[in-house]
Every structure is written in C-alpha cells, then in structure tokens.
Symmetry: C2
Subunit: 343 residues, 2 copies
C-alpha cells in the first residue's frame, strides 16, 4: 500500500514506457515544455526500438529495452505501449511504490482505478492505489465539453459521430497515410499495411474489434468511459467512430439532449470560462473549429452551438482536438501534475 | 400548358446545360452508358467554357455559349449550371414545350415542382408543368435509404452527420484538393482559392450560407427536401454537414428513431430488396461501406445497421454514395427515363 497518493516532493525519476511511439514522443515534448520536475528520465521501449537516440532538453538519451531492472527507484511511469505491456509491468511498478499513469484501456473501467480528465474529475485523482488511467482520446475531448454543459442541465442523451485522425492508429499509420496519398497522386496503386484499407482520399468506420451489440470497441469506450468520468451511470450515449484522412486532430459532431432547455448563448458562456477549451465560433464568417486549428495545441476547440431543431431541450455542437496532445500525452502529464505536492 | 407530362416517343433533342462541370461531364457519360434515346445532343456552357471539344459516342461535340437560339426544338434540358442560370432560361424552355430537369436548388421546394428520387417517389414525376427538380446530393442518398425503412415503421426523428466529398464543390475543388495535398506533402504552404480553407489532411463544416436558425443551407436542404420527398411534413431531422478530404463519394452517419421497434435484420432485408441499394455489411471482418467502394458506381452502399443503444425504437446505420453519380447526374437521367413512354 502506498503511504501517500501524492508523488514525492522532489525532482522525480520518470520513465516513459513506449517512448518511440507517437504518444511517447509527444510525452517527452510535453514534459520538457511544461518543465515537469525530473531528476532522471528513462526511455523504455520494445526490444525492436531499443537503442534509439532521442534529444531531450539538449541531452542525448537512448531508449532501453524494458526489463525489471529499469524500474528501480522510479517514481512515475507514463505508459503508452498498449494494455498487455502495462499489465505485465504493473506489479513491478507498484512494488517500487511508483505510480503508473496508463494510456491503454487495460485499467480504465476497473472501479478501483481513477479514470481522469483533470478539468472534469481531477478531484478523484487521489483515489488511486498505484495506477491511474488516461481515457481514450475521443472520450477526453468529449467529456471536456460535456462536463461544463452538464452543470447547466443534466445531460440525458448524447449522439456522436467522430472524424478521427490517423494518429490514433500510431506513428506508422500517419506515415502510411502520407505514403498512400503520394501513391494515389502519382497514379500508382495503393497498398496499405498498417491501416486495414487505404485512407488516401478515403475513410472507413473504426476498425477496432466488433462487440456483441454491433458497436465496436472504440465506440463502447466512449460510452463506458464517458459514463465513468461524468459519473452518470445511466447516461444514454451512442457513438459512430470513423477514421478520416486527417493526420493528428480528431473532430466530433455532437447532439445532446438535456433535462431542461439550454440556450446556446448560456452554453457558450459556460464553455468560454472552462479550462482547456477554446471557442471558435463566427457564424457571420462561417468559421468554426477545424483539425488544422488545433494541431499541436493544448486546447480543444468548440463551436457551432445551436438549438437542435429536431427535439426539445437539445443542442448540437462540434469540436476538434489534437489527438496526441490533449487526447493522450498532455492529459497524462496533467494527471501527474495534479499529484505534485503544492509548495 | 404541356399536352402530356411524357417526353415525345422518339429519339430526343437533348441539351446539357453546364456541360463542362463535374456533374455535366457525368451526365454525358451516363446518357451514353444508358443508351438514352437521343437524336441530337447540344452542349451548353457559359461564355468562359465555350468552344470546349468533348467526345461523345465517338463524335466530337463542341460546347456552345447558352443563347435563346440554342433552345430551339429541344425536348429535354438537363441543367447543372446553378440556380440563377436555370431560372434565367426556364421560360424559354417551357415556351419550347421542353422539359427542364434541374439540378440546382432553385425550384426544389416549389410546391408545383416535383422533387424526385425515382426509387422513392417516382410516381409523382408526372405532376410537373415543365420542370422537375433533382434533390441535393446528400438528400438523394439519405432518402433512398430512409424510404424503405419507413415502410417498416414510421420514422419519427433522424440525426445525421455527413462526410461530404469535395466533388460537391465542383470540378475545380476536386483539382484543388489534389494540388493542396501535393503541396502539403512537398512541405510547401497551401493556399486554397476554390475552397474556403485547405482540405489537405483537414476538414471543415460545410461552408454554405448560414441561416437564421444557425443551420447552414446545405443542412436545411437535407431537412426540407427529405420531408418533401418522403412526404412527412413534420419529420424531425437535424443534420451536421462536413466537408472531408475525399474526392467524389459522400458518407453519412445516420441515427433513426421509429414509431415502433425495428429489428436490424428486418431493416437489412428491406434494404437488400430495395432498388439502387447495395448492402455492405460484414461484422466478422469489420467490413462496411467506404467511399472507395462506390466511386463511379450507381448503387448507394449501406451497412453497419445496429440497434441504437441510446433509445428505444432506434437504429443506427452508415451509407456511402457517389456524389456525382446517384447524388446528381444519374438521378437526373433516371427522372428523364421515367418520362419516356413505354413501348
């Protein structure tokens, strides 16, 4: 058992597990940008990616193969290497009295593991016992916007269709999208290897495994994780997740039913004062959030709030957020920051 | 007043108005492929596109500037040159006792003008007085799928998010998407001229003019045209229209509420036997419609039918259809075919 839910009050020995992936690289960037208190940074990777040199804070670091030895004296592990890797090393991490902030879905629905979006349910972060889960990218973006609106009137039902960038499928998928598109433009045949189908000027329904209710895993992550984060166990939510030929920012088209009427202007005011959110809404000039607006940025952009003409008490809106940043790496570092004792 | 709603029972003198655009070119292709009975084909265009040589049925035709003279003795005008052009020439066409099948939105909501999707409300085609309207692309695809389902149980409410290809913005926009993408891949800045913003690995909410209810014209076309075609005046429908970096096929994510419960398998059976529809649905292999499946093809592809987990009596589904073909040119030619007297 940990003595305190907080991280030690000194520069920390931190490991990034999965350091050579898209989210891992972004984690390193964010730790540097936010001047996270680090005494030593250990880059862990698979055997395949071992020995990769990475410049961090003007220092050359080398990725190491993940072994039990490497976890010694660690304070914090930021993991983005998939669920099986996180599960494999969890007991080693906990034995070290270190904290795991895990980007996989392995522990998200475990009722003993907090699932945190700092701006939404940051107050629950202390309820951990060595592991805190980082939600799925689409869920982070969605809950960040739903939570402030839920203060105005209880949300009854949400219908969402996503426009998910290829970064969610990893660094290799991003490179493949560029390659396939180049092949298309040169009039050559496209053969996808990372993606299930070519995304060059094409799109497809999210290819995560299908569940027995005919929703895919990605869609049910949105349902179950949103319920847990917003603490509305019976929230009605259905999602259609779609992969589009965009590089690293997700968009979501969201239809909300509230218990009472919510005026778009009140919703807008609430969103404007909410942390992590930026409103981009100019009806006169037809200017609303686009993936290009948020690429590489921390804030989630929201706009196009309007009274739903198809129901009472309904609002429709649109958001874009950087999948790698707020949708993954930034949120994980923000969780860690909540656990740094305040001076 | 026309003596008969039918076209004359002989090869026809046909004009294509807007013959050099994306839909115009496809109209020519379809007239040839379907062996439409033509005695003479006149290609009309703006002054700017005058004199363009086009091969049609191994014959070289030359586009002519649109003047009153050119409408002489015409039987049929297929127009795809925008609403103001169609309005300008309507009286000339009617004076000739010719029929205008118009692809613009100019006459669609006129209660004296039939708005036709042949598979859905083809029986209303005879109620014209010289002009028949071709619906908006997204509406054609949507109603083609909603109409068979409405037979199973009355549709109460529809929420749709679109993934619209750039072809809807015209031939130049298609070329611009390729150019902008090439510039992106070469690391050069992208400057859009036809599109309001770069679509290279980006997307944006449909940029048609905003209306007073904060829905854009494109979205309200879907609402109003769907109500007229399905003949459900009070159908609750809300749409979010989005332009995505896809070349010529639209996709739609559709959430439907019925009066009674509709089983996905019954819906699937109904769709399978409906003309103009192809079901692509393989849950085991995670294979559903994609834009690439329908590009250049007549059928609209539907799949991913599932019971909506967020409501009773709900179904969710997904469709893809070629915007230029069934979404525009094919539907217009099919309307004309309904008016050819059967031998």
């Amino acid at each position: 058992m940990r003595q305190s839910p907080y991280l030690p009050n000194r520069p920390l020995k931190v490991a990034v597990l999965g350091s050579s992936g898209a989210v891992g690289s972004e984690l390193l960037k964010i730790l540097e940008q936010r001047d996270f208190p680090i005494s030593e940074l250990v880059l862990l990777s698979s055997e395949r990616s071992e020995g990769k040199k990475i410049i961090w804070k003007d220092e050359e670091l080398v990725t190491k193969k993940t072994t039990k030895e490497e976890f010694k004296n660690l304070d914090l592990v930021l993991a983005s290497a998939g669920g099986s890797i996180s599960k494999k090393w969890l007991s080693t991490i906990i034995d070290q009295n270190a904290l795991l902030i895990d980007n996989s879905s392995a522990f998200r629905l475990d009722k003993n593991v907090p699932l945190i979006v700092p701006e939404v349910n940051g107050s629950e972060v202390l309820n951990h016992d060595g592991v805190i889960a980082n939600p799925n990218c689409t869920t982070i973006l969605l809950t960040l916007v739903l939570a402030p609106l839920n203060k105005l009137s209880t949300i009854q039902r949400v219908i969402v269709s996503t426009y998910q960038s290829v970064s969610g499928a990893g660094q290799l998928a991003m490179e493949e999208l560029k390659l396939l598109t180049e092949q298309y433009l040169q009039g050559n045949p496209q053969k996808s290897e990372v993606l299930p189908y070519s995304l060059a000027f094409n799109l497809f329904l999210h290819n995560s495994p299908m569940l027995s209710n005919n929703y895919c895993e990605e869609e049910m992550k949105m349902v179950n994780e949103t319920r847990k984060i917003l603490n509305i166990a019976d929230l009605k939510l259905s999602a259609t997740c779609v992969r589009v030929p965009v590089l690293r920012a997700h968009s979501e088209s969201i239809n909300i039913e509230f218990a009472d009427e919510v005026e778009p202007k009140d919703a807008l005011e609430e969103l404007k004062k909410s942390p992590g959110i930026e409103v981009i809404e100019d009806y006169k000039n037809n200017r609303f959030p686009m993936p290009n607006d948020v690429m590489g940025r921390d804030n989630v952009a929201v706009g196009r709030l309007r009274t739903d003409i198809s129901q009472s008490h309904g609002l429709e809106l649109w958001l874009c957020g950087d999948q790698i940043r707020k949708g993954a790496a930034l949120n994980a570092v923000q969780i860690a920051e909540l656990l740094i004792p305040k001076k």
